[in-house]
Each structure stands twice: as C-alpha cells, then as structure tokens.
Symmetry: C3
Subunit: 231 residues, 3 copies
C-alpha cells in the first residue's frame, strides 16, 4: 500500500504490511520495518530507521469537552538524518526531529515539538505539543513532558519524571506554561515538576522530589516540597 | 480480512490491513485506520473514529499465579456515537464507552469499565477493570486508574496520577477497593492515591502528594503524607 | 509472510498480517494473533499465546549520544511453555521468559533479562536490560524496572513503581546498579527506589515513598525520604 506519489531514494528497505501515503518523501538508505503507517507528506531524511508498528505524521484529535482545540493546519512531520525511531511509536505532524535523535519504543511526540540533534527520547516517553527540546538531551523511560515545556541542551531527565503546565487545573482561562529546564540540569527519577518552575543551569533535582519553586543554578534540591540539600 | 457477518452502515472508511471479526456492528460515517483489529461482536456507533494500530474487544487473560481470575463471560465492547479512539489503544470486551468520549493514543481500558459522556481518557492512561468514570471527566496523560475505582462527573486528574486498591498488597483475601473521587475533585500530577480513600467534592490534591486519608469536600491537601494546605 | 525455515509444531493458530522471520521455532498448540512480528531465531515453546500487535525478538538500538552501547551479539529470545504475551508488547532478543509467565499488554522487556516461572509483568511495565526477575513475582501496571536490577522470588510490586540505577545521573564512568528487592518484599504504588538500595526480605515500602537507604528485612518504611513506620 505504497502510494505512487511517495518519492523514494536509493537503497531503501521496506517491511511487510506497510502503508505509505501520498507525497511522503523518503531519503537514501532508509529502513522501514513491518506494520508501519506513514501519513501524507511526511519527510524522512537519509539513513533513518523506523521500527515495526510505528505511526508517523498523525494529525491531532479532540472532543467537545476539550477547552483548547489543537491546531489542525500543520506542516508535515520532518525526520532528520540518522534518526532512529523504535517500535510502537506515534509521531505527529507539525514536529521536527533533528539529526541523530533516538526515539525509543512506545514513545509519543505530539505536534509543534522540536527535538534537538542527538537527543534521546526514551521508551514510553510522552512528549506533548508545543515543547522544545534542545541538543544532547536525555529523557529516560516513561517520563512525561507536558505541553509548553522548554528543555535546554544537555539536560538529563531520569525515568518517570512528571511535569505539568496548568496551575489552576483546567481553569480554561490562564495560559499554560510547563517547566523550564536550563542547560545541563539533571532531574532524578519520578520527580514532580510544577507548572512554570525554572530549574537553573546544572541544578540537580533529587529522585522523588516535588518541585514547587524555581531552583537556582547548580543547586541540589530534594524532598516534598523540594528544599536545598544540606549535604 | 473483514468477516461477512460484520454489519456495516453507510459511508464507512476502512484502512489497509484491517481485521474485523464475526458479528461486529459498525454504524454510519465510521472511520477506521490502518492495522486495526476489531474482535467478534464489538458494537461501534455512528460517527466513531478508530485510529491506526488499535485493538477493540480483547478478552481478558490470566496465568496460574493470578489470585483473582478475570470473568470471561462478557458482553461485547460498546462504543457510543462520536467517540474517538487514538492509535495503539487496547479496549476490552465488557466495557461501555459513552458518546463523545476521546480515548487518546496508547490508552488501555479493561473489562467492566464505564466511561461517561464526553470524558477524556488521556494518552497512555491505563484504566483497570470494574471502574466507573462519570461524564465530563478529564484524565490526563499516563495516569493510572486502578480496578474498582469510582470517578464521578467533572473530576479532573492531571498527568501521571497513581492509584491502588489493595491495602494488604496481594493478601488475596481482602476485597479490593480503589479510591473514590467525588464530583469536581481535582488531582495534581503524579499524586499517589491509596486504596479506598475518598476525595470529596471539589477537593484539590496537590501535585506529588500521597493521599492516605479521606479528603473533605473543597479542602486542599498537599505533601507526603497529604495534609491540609495552610495557605 | 511466514518464512519457509520457520519450524512449526502441531495445532498452531496464526492470525492475519503476521510476519515470522527465518529460523523461528514454534512449539505445539501456540496461538498467534493478528499483526504480529516475530524476528529471526525466536524460540516459542508449547502452549504459548501471543496477542495482536506484539513484536518478539527485537534487536537493541542506540545513537551517538548513548554512552553505554547495547551488546548486539545476543542469543535468540526464548519464551517458555504456557507463557502469555499481551497486545502491543515488545520483547527483545537475548532474554528468557520462563514457563507460565504472563506479560500483559503494552509491556516491554529489553535484552539480557530473565523472568522467572509464573511471574506477572503487568500492563505497560517497562523492564530494562540486564535485569533478573525471580519466580512468582508480581509487577503491576506501569511500573518501571531499571537496568541492572535484581528482583527475587515472590516480590510484589504495586503499580507505577519507579527505580533508577545511576547515582550520578549520566556521569558515564560509574557502574550502574539498580535496586535489589529480596524475597517476598512488597513495594507500594508510585514508590521511588534509588540506585543500589536493598529492600530486605518481606520488608514493606509504602505507597509514594522515596527509598534512599537500605530497608532491613521485615521493616515497614514510609515517606520522603522513607523512614521506619511508627505504627
């Protein structure tokens, strides 16, 4: 089920039961697994690997209850050179994955997201819309990156981090603002980051901490609520 | 692979590599993506959208270790009008999804679950068996809804909420009881809710809190263990 | 798309749109759902059930940023008798799933993992590489089992447990060591376990606790940081 208008480079491998829609662009030396769907217009650069059961270029969806409807007029999904996408992933239209990124199995990336070069989006990580992730960032398994979050270069996020962006929980009138993680910050596993907090450059957030206030650069914070570590 | 006994309405779109088993009922104006499996007897109402790689109508499974075996004699899965089901979802037999619900990508809904009208089951949300979810409820990404939990109308649950139902952790003799969230309660991201606790009407549970006792109506609780907020 | 060199036993059921690669061994009375991919050399014993959209025998992947590259020379995935694998799962090469195990929907098991007989790997549980899980272990939905972790027999892990293995968060020079959970330990939902901590035999970790130190056998610990319970 490969549309005739899908333009393919040289030395491409395509598995079984694959759907490639109209006007998909595929570069050279691309490997596509089995049971993959690539939606209309998606751009896949050279040397990309897409594993089995992944969906590329999905459009957003909503229901009547949703106060903030997603924007539907989106650019195609762009996947840079040497990117690897794991199995059972779902990547939306309107996002850009820069070269060398690893998107691990079962990860999701919504629309209007940028992932910087060589970053790692871990297994089962959910990245919401309108989020910017810098270069050389690591986000480990099962972490949750809320919408309107900013993650600068070289940030390290352990597994199961949780973030939020809506201080008033569904007030519907306030602007959403996710956490801002400055360059080289490190976040321990299962930390909870509240809306709009800033974690400074090279600051460290301990595992299981609940961060309710800004964390100064290079500071180490721990606990619930997070406080400066004494040691 | 569409069984001849599957009854289809008008104006239905079905993608590639789709399996529709015996006696599935499909209403009018239904859209079914690629790589979808719909199990025997599933009922899909008008104007429903099913995205790629989703599985509808799965039967429960168990092994010898499991103390509480699932009930296998279940009604078909019922999906109401205007429901949208995301990609890579798994919805079991014996559950009812009321009209206007959005089930986002990678969500799972087990057997004997009711989801009320216009509610949102977020991405990668896991809803266990024998749980009742009211109308206009929002459950955000990656939250965990344990078995035998009750979520009333207009409850808001932020991302990564965790709940449990077994105070004695695998004692095998006690009854399971999940948390009870009363009308309009709001739960912050990554909160932990213990078995059987009641969160009162319009009460607010802070992000990262661990709720070990009942929360009175309209009260705000924070911390580990959760205590009444002073502010 | 079933390779001619795949050796099949008697009384095997295979769904639609299934890919079985070279030299896969399939025992008697095996059921394979729709949309399944089984990679080269995978060994599936008698009476195994594989549900829809699952991927068996995946090889590891990496990018340039990754300090610790996965080992690529791996034995085939081995699945013992009477194992059940849910839908949308991803099991890697180089792992051994002993008889009677239940791997629930949307679970992931990386390479160099052993899962002991009759254990339960819950829905959406992520098990990282080089981890050993004993017999009769229960790991409930959405828990995260880090790499280089040891879980002894009869351990019970509630939902949403988070573990880590890198005290220095991406220092790249230290050895990784995940938590060690001794026989019969019980871990409450959404607990955070720090690198290398030992939870003693029959010890109990409360829900939402953050465990930063070893827990003696039979002790009950609660809170952030976890302390001995007074009751």
């Amino acid at each position: 089920m490969i549309d005739k208008t899908a333009v393919q480079g040289e030395n491409i491998t395509i598995g079984s039961y694959v759907v490639i829609e109209k006007n998909v662009l595929i570069g050279n030396n691309v490997e596509i697994g089995n049971h993959v769907t690539i939606k209309e217009g998606t751009i896949i650069s050279d040397n990309v690997v897409i594993s089995d059961f992944s969906l590329l270029g999905k459009a957003p969806s909503s229901n009547n209850k949703m106060a903030r409807k997603p924007i539907m007029d989106l650019d195609p999904l762009y996947i840079g050179e040497n990117v690897k996408v794991g199995s059972h992933c779902c990547l939306y239209k309107g996002s850009t994955i820069h070269p060398g990124v690893l998107v691990a199995d079962m990860a999701s990336i919504r629309e209007h997201v940028t992932v910087g070069a060589n970053s790692i989006i871990g297994k089962n990580v959910m990245v919401e819309n309108n989020t910017t992730i810098g270069d050389n960032v690591t986000i480990q398994t099962a972490s949750y990156v809320t919408a309107h979050m900013l993650i600068e270069d070289e940030v390290f996020i352990g597994p199961c981090m949780s973030s939020s962006n809506d201080k008033y929980m569904a007030s519907r009138t306030k602007e959403l603002q996710g956490p801002i993680l400055k360059k080289g910050a490190k976040i321990g596993n299962n930390a909870s980051l509240l809306p709009g907090i800033v974690v400074g450059e090279k600051a460290i957030v301990g595992a299981g901490s609940v961060i309710t206030k800004d964390v100064p650069a290079s500071e180490v914070v721990l606990g619930n609520p997070g406080r400066k570590s004494k040691s």
